[in-house]
């Protein structure tokens, strides 16, 4: 069972809040949820929307076509009328608003909307858009938002403007009615969401009114729930993983979509920590510093790591570009530092609030020169959590920078899942080779790993970005260079030997068609595997999680003798497949790619795979999503 719901509205109008509350209420009824957020690089006024899938099983994707569209402004109708299958909730007072009057809508979109409507012999008003949908079997639910709000305002004897922010909750409430779930769940969700009593009151009443405006259609039943469930977005869960993993220092410079992670850590800076000797718990503080730029951010984290403190920074493309030099220093000096790399629409400033997977090869090669670098990419929220801990371990074990890739598509999306999935009592903390004795920092060893002392614990420790001898002092000697360089590089071989390949790639299914992917497309793929099977298409998902060191043998073996290898990525060049080809010599036979900055959705992916398999189309370019 799956149901899709979308709510849209201008930025600053509370779309997020209502989407969270709506989702939260549905989750309380025992449903799993995946919700994706789309918004402009803008503070107020531009269109944003949340697209949610509700399911009785765990779900990790959204659908382009939604059952219900909850709108309370004109732009949402224009941007999405063509994506709805069942219901459109809209504001009757806006019926005569024309597309060309909506100034916040980009003219490219307006033009397309007008074309579509005119192509159907319609005008260009909200009413026409709704009409267009109606003709295609969509039911419409007109709402007189201002009337409802006026009621609320009157009841509390406040001006209309005071209750303005409940508008979005009305839209949520109307759609909630359609589901047929207990009203109480929604009410309690509201109560838990607002700290401010007055807001609870306004919203409760607005919702009461909204609920009256539609009736149960979908008949959702309350499901039984075992254990606890959590609702988490990618930024937060990454922060949680890092904290559990022993992160004690995070530097950052604000950037979308990375900074929410750091802001969360800062807000939760004081944590319970168990004393390993006494077993007592006491509060300890994490240092979080907002730096002046990303050059400072990465180098502060490196400096901190030298004292033996688990240290990280988080950024996205533009900031990561600025970190290349520092990463190279960390590689040269064998410093365990984690960079959480939130990928967004690139190149350059690109689409700052949209998603993308176009920085993978940059992440792998960032920083001049050769040094071991570990790069891993998570595919869903639960993976992010454990990978965040893993990244901190890998950094210390191999004494080298680790890049943890998380896409905006995961960062700003949330999912509801069983809490036990992020039980971390079985996640280990491995600190690698540590010493508290003075001595040469860069001892030549067989596996490349040298015992590491900490600044402040051991004296006469030396570091330099220049080539150095075992003591960390500069030397240009040719023989030392040869040996020291090799020692560093060997760590990547050691890591490659030690880290089980099974942990570096997720292989699901056993079909003869390989879906080669990484990161967020995992969700859509997993969510359509059953449907594909029903269509007679047996696939196997090969989701590469670690690109360096690359799980060459397992991937090679798995890709061999496949009927088709379809690369599925959110970029133009199929970079994950390129890296795979570099290591295995195996190239994809087909491509399903998307670079619009929007997440790959399960329905468009299903169609695309069918096209590839049945019509043997070489390459499908996806573009769903406003």
């Amino acid at each position: 069972m799956r149901l899709s719901w979308m709510i849209g509205g201008a930025q600053g109008m509370g779309v997020d809040t209502s989407a969270n509350i709506f989702g939260n209420a549905v989750a309380r009824a025992g449903y799993y949820i995946y919700g994706n957020r789309e918004y402009y690089s803008n503070i107020k006024g531009r269109h944003s929307y949340f697209n949610i899938t509700i399911s009785d099983k765990m779900v990790n994707s959204i659908s382009h076509r939604v059952n219900i569209l909850a709108s309370f402004d004109a732009e949402t109708v224009f941007q999405h009328f063509n994506e709805v299958s069942d219901f459109i909730i809209y504001d009757t007072e806006l019926e005569s608003t024309k597309a060309e009057m909506v100034k916040s809508m980009e003219w490219e979109i307006t033009e397309r909307v007008m074309e579509t409507l005119k192509g159907d012999g319609l005008g260009t008003t909200v009413k026409d858009a709704v009409e267009y949908a109606k003709k295609r079997g969509v039911k419409v639910i007109p709402v007189r938002y201002n009337e409802v709000l006026k009621k609320v305002a009157d009841a509390f004897k406040v001006p209309l403007s005071a209750v303005e922010r409940s508008r979005n909750m009305i839209a949520a409430a109307v759609s909630y009615s359609l589901l047929g779930l207990d009203k109480e769940l929604l009410m309690s969700s509201i109560k838990d969401s607002f700290k401010n009593e007055t807001f609870v009151k306004y919203n409760t009443m607005a919702v009461e009114e909204g609920l009256k405006l539609a009736q149960n259609v979908y008949n959702l039943k309350r499901l039984e729930i075992k254990g606890h469930r959590v609702q988490l977005d990618g930024n937060t869960i990454s922060a949680m993983g890092k904290l559990a993993g022993g992160l004690r220092f995070q530097s950052y410079y604000p950037i979308t979509p990375a900074s929410d992670e750091s802001v969360y850590i800062e807000a939760n800076q004081l944590l319970d920590m168990k004393d390993p000797k006494t077993g007592d718990t006491r509060k300890g503080g994490i240092v979080v510093i907002q730096s002046e730029d990303e050059l400072a951010a990465v180098n502060m984290a490196i400096g901190s790591a030298l004292t033996g403190v688990r240290s990280a920074t988080a950024t996205s493309g533009p900031g990561f570009s600025l970190m290349a030099e520092g990463i190279s220093w960390a590689g040269m000096n064998e410093v365990p530092v984690v960079v959480t790399y939130y990928m967004r629409g690139a190149p350059s400033t690109g689409l700052p609030t949209r998603s993308g997977q176009a920085d993978l090869e940059f992440a792998l090669n960032a920083g001049h020169g050769e040094f071991p670098k570990i790069v891993l990419a998570s595919g869903d929220h639960v993976e992010i959590f454990h990978d965040a801990i893993w990244a901190l371990n890998l950094a210390e074990k191999y004494q080298t920078p680790v890049i943890h890739v998380i896409e905006k598509a995961l960062a700003n999306a949330y999912s509801v899942f069983d809490e036990e999935l992020i039980d971390y009592s079985k996640d280990v903390i491995e600190r690698g080779e540590i010493t508290d004795k003075a001595g040469p920092r860069f001892q030549i060893t067989e596996n490349g790993i040298s015992p590491r002392g900490f600044l402040g614990k051991v004296s006469e420790l030396f570091y330099t970005g220049d080539e150095h001898n075992i003591w960390g002092h500069i030397t240009e000697d040719s023989e030392n260079r040869k040996v020291m360089y090799e020692k560093r590089m060997k760590k990547l071989d050691t890591a490659d030997k030690e880290i089980p390949e099974e942990q570096r790639v997720n292989i699901v299914g056993d079909g003869d068609i390989a879906l080669l992917t990484w990161g967020s497309p995992r969700g859509a793929i997993l969510d359509i595997m059953d449907e594909l099977k029903q269509e007679g298409i047996n696939v196997q998902m090969i989701q590469v999680k670690m690109f360096s060191p690359f799980p060459t043998n397992l991937v090679k073996k798995t890709l061999s003798n496949k009927r088709k290898i379809i690369a599925i990525e959110n970029n133009y060049l199929a970079q994950g497949a390129r890296v795979t080809a570099l290591h295995t010599g195996i190239y994809p036979t087909n491509y399903i790619l998307k670079w619009t900055g929007r997440i790959i959705m399960r329905d468009e992916l299903l169609d695309a795979i069918k096209k590839v398999v049945k019509d043997d189309v070489k390459k499908v370019v996806l573009d769903a999503g406003a």
Binding site: Q231, G308, E419, V428, P440, L455, V458, E460, Y463, V483
Partner: protein
């Protein structure tokens, strides 16, 4: 290759380089203050000056970082382990050219660090190009034509950026420099010392002879004892910082300990920061995490 004991490092500065005076003064200052070697971390940038940790004769630790980034590394070291004494040595190109952004923004934090600028007017290690402290129209022997950039006023910049100890010294006056460094290290907050450092190889303008006849020592009270004095003391320091030419003042221009350090500001949010800093927190107990995030998880429960 695997030398068991540490061989002495060859100091490869040019004969007569002003850097020798700085390193001597810095060593003496560390020694006289009785700092424990493992508690002292020298952080440096890239340039002739940047090699200083490698040449230091005391068993301190040293981090020779990136060109322009020493203050960022130092900030990380210090905040992760606030019990350390962190001294940062940068070149003038390093600290005020490529590093100017960190110079300014570190000022805003007043971290308890000591920053020493090796002010030689040139980019020594890259063969004598003009540095940000070389004045316009000057043509040291390494420049093909007179410098067309204006010089930055290091002291005024520091004061405008929030440094709470701002001084100037002269590298050939080792004892005076030592005293200034000691004062800077003892200062609670962010200290900067602009050390006039002749580069006999490339800068034949700001030579020993040139300085010797111009330098004089400040004889005033630079200390803000109460916030109400701040504006006046700052103004006098800013005005004094403009003096350059026939007479050049050295000494402490400005000192203000009435402003809380960054560490103190962290304390407001993390009450046990000084004795339970990141560097002393244990993160692992028998292979498993010591950190308990269950409250955070609970806060995200829907059911």
């Amino acid at each position: 290759m695997q030398a068991l004991k540490k061989e002495p490092v060859f100091n490869d500065w040019c004969p007569g380089c002003g850097d020798f005076g700085i390193i001597r003064a810095e060593e003496m200052a560390v020694k006289e203050l009785g700092l424990k070697p493992e508690e002292v971390v020298l952080v440096s940038g890239i340039g002739c000056s940047g090699k200083i940790p490698h040449f230091f004769s005391l068993p301190v630790s040293g981090v020779h970082t990136l060109h322009g980034r020493a203050l960022a590394f130092a900030t990380g070291v210090k905040l992760a382990n606030p019990s350390l004494k962190v001294i940062v040595n940068v070149g003038d190109g390093d600290g005020l050219g490529i590093g100017a952004g960190h110079f300014v923004n570190t000022g805003r934090r007043n971290i308890d660090l000591t920053l020493i600028v090796h002010d030689n007017g040139v980019y020594g290690l890259t063969k004598g190009q003009a540095s940000p402290t070389l004045r316009r129209g000057e043509k040291p022997k390494s420049l093909p034509r007179p410098n067309i950039n204006d010089a930055v006023n290091v002291l005024a910049l520091a004061i405008s950026s929030g440094y709470t100890f701002v001084a100037r010294s002269y590298s050939y006056d080792v004892l005076f420099t030592k005293e200034i460094i000691k004062a800077a290290i003892k200062h609670k907050g962010l200290a900067v010392i602009d050390i006039l450092q002749p580069c006999p190889t490339y800068n034949d303008i700001n030579t020993k002879e040139w300085y010797d006849k111009r330098l004089y020592k400040l004889n005033w009270d630079p200390v803000v004892k109460d916030p109400s004095e701040r504006d006046a003391k700052m103004a006098q320091a800013l005005i004094k910082s403009q003096e350059w030419g026939e007479k050049i003042p050295i000494g402490i221009f400005y000192q203000d300990e009435t402003i809380p350090t960054y560490e103190e500001r962290i304390l407001q949010n993390v009450p046990n920061y000084m004795d339970y800093s990141p560097a002393v927190q244990e993160i692992v107990a028998e292979k498993t995490p010591t950190t308990d995030i269950s409250k955070l998880v609970k806060a995200k429960r829907v059911v």
